[in-house]
């Protein structure tokens, strides 16, 4: 432990003054935490097989990483600048300006390639004192230190190139920031295994990386191609269709009006309808195929106290997240999925954030869970769950909450119907039916809302069309807020919002006093400290 780091020849150690040390507050704060000390590390190092190094020399990426990374980065570059390229190629062929643009483009492309090579040449990582250190950068050098017990989840990704070359990409996420904190884009499998095991040894969790070992463990959830097709087909792609239609309209407007007439005349009403149908079916099928490819062979297993999810046909993904890092479990059951008897379960850790792919917006998502298995999947990911989600009778929202819902429904209905009436007078008047339809939906929505607080969890269910049941372990509660705007206040209602790291869950509308009482009740946190002894809190002011 604590021996001098060995540095490779190509990494000068003496220029520390030029280094930008990126000390993440969340990843750095382990030394004063007290939960993780030398004893525990030695213990876990002994527990583990002797070949697990707690400390390694500085290592670089696999030499093939340049090739593996080059193709995707080039592809991404081409994709992001395809408009420019098209303009250069088809715009003014052969003119001097076109040539200049071409040079500019190749410069950008060269820079992209150069960056990949520099990245390979400069990236070095090691395990030191049980923590992962990653150094990057040529001019702006930075060192990042990630402590194992701060790791929210690790993800192994193999795209096609990785699989051909037998390499693997590791993404290590902590709760901080808006990016993947530790990204090692191409390592040999043995090396990746060593690294993950060293991190897990630091976390006092033992596991094996090899997929062979995973198949032995009983699966919490598995998805066959049939499940995935059901999942893909029921995904609502209305948004995509609307965007496509909008784009088509824009294109039509920009092109020659006489051509539009020609097209319109040629197709007629029936043709237009057929085109529309084809468009909708096309997006639908593409979405389904994408879903199947992305989640192909989905499998979620529990290994000790780590959840492991593997999925993907071309790009294999493998997410590992420690059970105790799970912040919220969301069960999404939109009405179409309820109809075919499945739901989607999403496990969030503190690394969750808006947008992005892979681990970015959902650490582990089980695409299609048969409705009867939802309880067992949720329990497996939240061992503290002391409630049967199917059997439990949830408490209703305040009866007056329906008024607010009806008010909102009226506004939304009037807005859309009003716009339609304006555009398609007098046929648009038919759209006024939307208002009573919206009322009906609001009533259904209200009837299906519910919440319940048990000693271990808070459950909040919303909605009819887009039903979501969110389960929040009380031990993870960060802060809570009761709030009421003018309208809610007049009716004596309030909304209780519970915040966990990375997300917030809001309960159905309650009476103000009830919400306040509940807020105080949740602060009592009977389940908060199952392992650690609580230090003496500050004296009251």
């Amino acid at each position: 432990m604590g021996s001098d780091p060995q540095s490779p020849e190509d990494w000068p150690e003496d220029d520390d003054d030029t280094e930008v040390v990126d000390t993440h507050p969340r990843t750095e704060s382990t030394t004063d935490q007290g939960t993780w000390d030398d004893d525990s590390l030695q213990e876990s190092a002994l527990d583990d097989s002797p070949d697990t190094p707690a400390e390694t020399a500085w290592r670089g990426l696999h030499p093939l990483s340049v090739l593996v990374n080059l193709l995707p980065t080039t592809w991404r570059f081409l994709r992001s600048s395809w408009i420019l390229i098209a303009a250069v190629l088809y715009g003014r062929g052969g003119s001097a300006e076109g040539f200049a643009d071409l040079i500019l483009l190749s410069l950008f492309l060269g820079a992209t390639i150069g960056r990949t090579i520099v990245h390979y040449l400069t990236l070095r990582y090691r395990m030191a004192e049980g923590r992962l250190e990653i150094r990057t950068g040529l001019l702006n050098r930075q060192t990042r230190v990630i402590a194992p017990d701060r790791v929210q989840n690790t993800e192994l990704v193999r795209n096609l190139f990785h699989r051909i070359s037998g390499l693997v990409e590791i993404r290590i996420e902590t709760a901080s920031g808006t990016e993947v904190e530790g990204l090692l884009s191409a390592l040999s499998e043995a090396e990746a295994e060593r690294l993950v095991r060293a991190l897990e040894a630091g976390r006092r969790v033992r596991s094996r990386l090899s997929e062979a070992a995973d198949t032995d463990a009983p699966a919490i959830a598995e998805n066959s191609v049939g499940d995935l097709i059901r999942y893909g087909l029921t995904a609502s792609r209305l948004g995509a269709v609307v965007v496509l239609l909008g784009l088509a309209l824009e294109l039509v407007q920009f092109s020659d009006p006489s051509q539009v007439e020609q097209v319109g005349g040629g197709l007629g009403w029936l043709g237009t309808l057929a085109l529309l149908l084809a468009l909708v079916t096309g997006t639908w099928l593409t979405g389904t195929v994408t879903a199947v490819l992305r989640h192909y062979g989905f499998r979620l297993i529990a290994r000790d106290d780590v959840l492991v999810a593997t999925e993907g046909l071309f790009t294999r993904r493998r997410v590992e997240l420690p059970l105790r890092k799970v912040q919220v479990v969301t069960v999404a059951q939109p009405w179409l999925r309820r109809l075919v008897g499945i739901g989607t379960v999403t496990l969030e850790t503190a690394a969750a954030r808006e947008g992005g792919d892979g681990t970015a917006n959902a650490e582990a998502m089980v695409p299609g869970v048969p409705s009867t298995d939802i309880q067992s999947v949720v329990r497996a990911s939240l061992p503290a769950l002391d409630l049967d989600l199917d059997e439990a009778t949830l408490r209703p929202p305040h009866p007056k909450a329906l008024r607010r819902q009806l008010l909102g429904a009226t506004w939304r209905g009037l807005l859309i119907a009003g716009a339609l009436v304006w555009w398609f007078w007098p046929w648009g008047l038919v759209a006024m039916v939307l208002v009573p339809i919206n009322w009906g939906l609001a009533w259904l929505d209200h009837r299906h809302q519910g919440w319940i607080v048990t000693p271990a969890v808070v459950v909040a269910r919303t909605g009819y069309l887009n039903r979501q049941t969110r389960v929040l372990p009380r031990a993870k509660l960060q802060s809570s807020e009761v709030r009421a705007g003018p309208i809610l206040r007049r009716w004596g209602l309030a909304r209780l919002v519970l915040r966990v790291a990375g997300d917030a869950v809001s309960l159905p509308l309650l009476a103000w006093d009830q919400a306040r009482t509940l807020q105080e009740e949740l602060l009592l946190r009977p389940q908060l400290d199952d392992e650690e002894e609580e230090p003496c809190p500050a004296a009251p002011a």
Binding site: P25, Q478, S480, R489, R499, A501, E520, D529, P535, A538
Partner: protein, 159 residues
């Protein structure tokens, strides 16, 4: 919620000063801009001046009325295990933060606050919403004492 501690009495003055600073630095130019654009659109100076004048009067009334109410609504309580903050005039909020979940605490002083010897306390938890615990208008000594008390607490941060 009768046990809430109110802000420093000078906070009322602070809120007024802040409101009127905003009024003159932002709303006066904005109203002039509004008048100009309405005049340009309707080509009638009268319409522009009346519309912008009405708007400015409304904002002015708000600046007269809100700070006092806002001061009355702010309050906090530090209990054994949690910090309770209540505030809000239009949207009323009560925030509860378990003290052991606090990641770090900032004290901030703007120019007016510096001049008045007041400070604002900003409490951060791992939820990532920086604004989930803000107490403005504390005397610097109170703010610092409260900050020290809050950061002293250790425990599981639940992440």
């Amino acid at each position: 919620m009768d046990e809430l501690i109110p802000l420093d009495p000078r906070a009322r003055l602070l809120f007024y000063l802040q409101a009127f600073t905003r009024l003159f630095l932002f709303w006066v130019p904005a109203s002039i801009g509004l008048a100009a654009s309405i005049t340009f659109l309707t080509s009638s100076l009268l319409a522009g001046v009346i519309a912008a004048g009405c708007w400015f009067f409304f904002v002015f009334l708000l600046a007269l009325w809100m700070p006092s109410l806002s001061y009355a609504r702010w309050g906090y309580a530090l209990r054994t295990d949690e910090l309770l903050i209540a505030h809000g005039v239009i949207v009323r909020r009560v925030t509860a933060i378990p003290t052991m979940r606090i990641q770090h605490v900032d004290t901030r002083q703007g120019p007016i606050e510096q001049w008045m010897g007041l400070a604002r306390l900003q409490i951060h938890t791992a939820s990532g919403v920086g604004g989930d615990g803000v107490i403005p208008g504390l005397s610097l000594a109170t703010a610092e004492a409260l900050r020290d008390q809050l950061v002293e607490v250790e425990g599981d941060d639940g992440v």
